[in-house]
Symmetry: C2
Subunit: 416 residues, 2 copies
């Protein structure tokens, strides 16, 4: 993509109404546009990051035999009444509205009840189980406050997966499989080292739930970790966990963390409340076991920004970056010719390049490349052309070196 | 995909609450699930069709320099008040709700006002124009009635593109470019021969609008066409069009048609109402010219079903079909071995195969392949293995032939 064609622009001004660093940086760099508190639009750059995160999650969910679908945002009152979750006292984040005939409708904030209702149409026998379905969807949640940028929105993209089973053992086994798939996701996002599976109290959801927590100063949660960070425990269950693990509570130190995933075993509770059942091999009607698995896609994007950003701007890990290379052009006709040629070459090799072909000062181009956080910067200039070199800079380390053409291509290939 | 793994199932029962043929067939075949009137979830098969349609549209919008973004569903009242379109008397399809602090919010049914408001942040000068942005998004419209299946939903997927210009000439020119891009879309959907650009009255929208209408018995509109279908005119503008084209109204015969696209020139109306402007080369502040371009992605899917279905089921055009080949396996161990091998071979060649590996009677498998509408059916059976042949059937023509292995591969390659 030629930067001169991109409609977004960077800005030096920190948006006055944003306290969250992720939103400040994402808005300044032109990844998101704020519609209202907790509601953001995603520009071409922002959408590319989201799609990269989704691609990773999609691959991992497919690898555990998840089948991708897409549910509706509009929800029937009756679907949620059986489990008591239509009630605003029980679920306090519903957006609700009315059809023309005064029928109440809700907007999906989660989809357990909707999924079970739908799956009943297809699951009749134990032979139809287990099965697992997932979707990427914009969830709507009427949050009282929304001050964490894209880390907690009133509208946000979530991957929610639901697995259905004939037995508890089968659910437990699959649940463990998904934990491993989730670990691979965080690993691939670049968050592997600092992300932990923790026990969660579950709150309104269920008593069998786990969270994936990433150590991050901007997080809303507190995690208790030991010195070498091999143990991490949620504050809510600290006493129980210390006892169970046989460790001294005093050896666990509090660190701030952000929830980046949340998984639940509902068991047969929901199916019993909703009358959703299957015919088992013994001919008996039995309720279906349900587990659900969420990853906030936009939240992960926000956590990545918070975690890796430095004083110059965003630092995207390679796998989620909107482009791998930021190509800076400095100079006249000769530089244009060389940079155009390199842009075409890299693009034709499948290397995604954001090409700064604007008539801007070098300093402004370098500053934008840092704010935007593209992992690798390559500079073509009149001076460099004379020496047949390219300037290569890693966004993460800031290290700059002058490379020959073959060294440059070797470096770019290596990092892919 | 192995059919034995797919959670959806076909059904012989026509859903009692659906009068629209597209919904009847799509539900029976397991492409969609009805949540409520006008609201459908898309299963793995249905989602694949949607993604194929989106891919075609995305390629064509990128080809006219459209930049993909994604806006929010949640809308601010203030955004729409300037143009009068917040008012339920003016726009009667709003879903509205309230934040916790009683602030009214709406759910996006279209995004012209939201786009202009956002783009003002990035467009300051004539140098920033023209630009064109588009998105695929679930629109929410509180329709009074919803009886046309996925052809008119309360929640549906739309591609909406918006182009912004400094001058009327530039807008007019780009508008013509998009008309050509739209024609390529319908051509690629398999609807090219029966889709016409027509003048529309515009209604509440604007006086400069065009529709793309596909001749289709299930359509809600009426088109007047001449004998060789080179002229097609909307009923609303019949008198004017006949006069303008210098033809006798009596030579145009009415046919039913479905709107599959809708494009508008707003000119500077919206920008003037909203105070959205740019600095022109003469230093003057001027309002931005706006045009918008919609394709109902789910609607197109419905029209394709209605238009091509026969008494056996759906008939997907090759480019939008969820899979290109339906592989039927009939017989014992030898058939399993042969069919498994062919499935792997085709898949490794990038040919998408739905493999009917179920223990079902041949008749049920053939019937499902027809209901599902996969373009090409290949049968492996004990009898065929003996003669070293494959049975090949075209869904569209119903023609069946026995092919050698090399003939089969030649046929499958040809049709891609």
């Amino acid at each position: 993509m030629r930067l001169s064609q991109l409609f977004t622009k960077t800005s030096k001004t920190v948006p006055a109404d944003e306290t969250a660093r992720n939103a400040q940086l994402l808005i300044r760099a032109g990844y998101v546009y704020k519609v209202m508190a907790g509601v953001y639009a995603y520009t071409p750059l922002g959408l590319r990051v989201l799609e990269n995160i989704k691609r990773i999650v999609r691959e991992e969910m497919n690898a555990v035999d998840g089948q991708e679908i897409v549910m509706s945002s509009l929800q029937r009152k009756e679907t949620w009444e059986n489990t008591g979750r239509w009630d605003d006292e029980v679920v306090d984040v519903w957006f609700k509205s009315k059809l023309k005939d005064e029928t109440e409708v809700g907007f999906g904030w989660s989809h357990e009840e909707a999924i079970l209702e739908m799956m009943q149409q297809f699951i009749k026998s134990y032979k139809d189980l287990p099965t697992s379905v997932y979707q990427f969807q914009a969830k709507l949640r009427n949050e009282l406050r929304a001050k964490s940028g894209i880390m907690r929105g009133r509208e946000f993209v979530m991957k929610d997966m639901y697995s259905l089973h004939a037995t508890e053992e089968d659910m437990d086994q699959y649940y463990e499989t998904v934990i491993e798939a989730y670990k691979r996701c965080y690993e691939r996002f670049g968050l592997g080292d600092s992300t932990f599976v923790t026990f969660a109290s579950g709150g309104a959801f269920t008593k069998f739930s786990h969270e994936f927590q990433t150590i991050c100063d901007a997080g809303e949660d507190v995690l208790y970790v030991n010195d070498d960070q091999t143990i991490a425990v949620n504050e809510e269950v600290l006493d129980d966990a210390a006892r169970e693990l046989g460790i001294d509570k005093a050896d666990l130190k509090p660190v701030k963390s952000a929830e980046v995933g949340n998984i639940f075993k509902f068991g047969t509770d929901k199916a019993e409340q909703m009358g959703v059942s299957f015919t088992d091999s013994d001919g008996q009607q039995k309720p279906i076991y349900l587990a659900s698995y969420g990853i906030g896609i936009t939240r992960v994007m926000g956590v990545i920004v918070e975690k890796f950003a430095d004083d110059k701007g965003i630092v995207w890990p390679e796998a989620v970056a909107p482009y791998r290379v930021y190509l800076v052009r400095i100079g006249g006709d000769e530089a244009v010719k060389h940079a155009d040629k390199l842009y075409k070459e890299l693009t034709s090799k499948g290397i995604e390049v954001l090409y700064d072909d604007r008539d801007e000062r070098p300093g402004a181009k370098f500053a934008d490349s840092e704010l935007l956080g593209i992992p690798q910067r390559v500079t073509v200039s009149d001076r460099l052309i004379e020496t047949e070199k390219y300037e290569y800079t890693s966004r993460k380390t800031g290290q700059t070196s002058e490379l020959t053409r073959s060294e440059l291509f070797a470096t770019l290939n290596k990092s892919s």
